[in-house]
Symmetry: C2
Subunit: 207 residues, 2 copies
């Protein structure tokens, strides 16, 4: 399983500092929506340029103007972009087509979608589907919640998960078949971010 580190609510220099402390321990660097909306493509460009060998996900949360937004953010250096599952199928299809043409990845954010919409989204077979776990429920009952969520996902090949993932839960998540775990505050808000990132990496190695 890959670790995706999400960077949010910081300046570009602060984001680069966090990366300098943690990049060795993570597989994907996420330029969070807050960085994109605050600083635009410059945030993607700065991180992609500093880490040319890392996979860069830009959490664009596209919901309209699919082809334009995807061409623009891939052009800035993103390897993976996100589209909202709540967008129209036309918009998602436009994003998906740009991703396929450019041989890049697309993540569909499942925030606030219905079961019916999820079924429609399964046509996008190469997309990564990102499930959000309620952060406040990441303790007791997590295993059952993951099981229930995965049942709806039958037929989906690539799965990511976000939402309050901690050192206590990363092992269970890794064993549940996710391709990517998105980790934010548990690393970026740690007193020692390097050590926090190392602990996640070691927890995955130990299984």
């Amino acid at each position: 399983m890959k670790i995706q580190l999400s960077l949010d609510r910081v300046s570009i220099p602060e984001a680069l500092k966090i990366c300098s402390e943690t990049a060795d321990m993570v597989d994907i660097i996420e330029v969070g929506t807050s960085l994109i909306k605050d600083f635009g493509n410059a945030s993607i460009e700065a991180i992609a340029k500093a880490y040319p060998h890392k996979t860069i996900l830009a959490d664009s949360k596209t919901i309209d103007e699919g082809a334009y937004e995807f061409c623009s953010a891939y052009g800035a250096g993103a390897d993976i972009l996100t589209v909202m599952g709540a967008a129209s199928i036309t918009t998602i299809a436009a994003c998906y087509q740009v991703a396929q043409e450019q041989n890049k990845d697309i993540m569909i954010d499942l925030l606030e979608i219905t079961g019916e919409k999820l079924q429609q989204l399964k046509q996008f077979q190469n997309a990564i589907f990102c499930l959000h776990l309620p952060a406040d429920k990441a303790g007791a009952g997590l295993e059952e919640m993951i099981h229930d969520n995965l049942k709806q996902m039958q037929g989906v090949r690539r799965l990511a998960v976000a939402g309050g993932i901690s050192l206590q839960t990363i092992g269970l998540i890794a064993r549940s078949g996710f391709e990517i775990a998105v980790i934010g505050g548990a690393i970026t808000k740690a007193d020692d971010r390097k050590v926090a990132a190392q602990k996640f990496r070691f927890a995955l190695k130990e299984g």
Copy 2:
């Protein structure tokens, strides 16, 4: 009725040039989502600074992190921000609260929402509700379509409309009780943008 001019898919200098040609004729300048995602808050700041007496709408299309995004973009100079109706009620309520606290306006974008969700959204009484008309249907049948859409909107006090509005349809839209008509390409893609904007203004004056 107010005219909102949407600026999209241009550089900041190009956006400022369009404004210099048209600002006198429009009531609200919209910093489009593409400008925000390409250039961040700098796009809002540049236009708000150049037009301190105009109402500036930033089409942030917030769908998560409501309070953060609204504080950030109001701070950059926006007077009105947009949140997706497809966002969770929690996120929309967070945006609404920031708007109320800062005595600013909020527009709810009704893209891809269900009738059931629309009913839930009516609790946000001071919000402007933005209806999207399919651009390709803005000819025949428009009157009926507006009538059908407005029926669902009963109880909504402030209404905006976007989607392929032309000189041929602006009169009907003004008579239908909308507070704001969002106009993009019909002005920004005209050979003479100043003249195009003047024609919309005159069409409204003549009723």
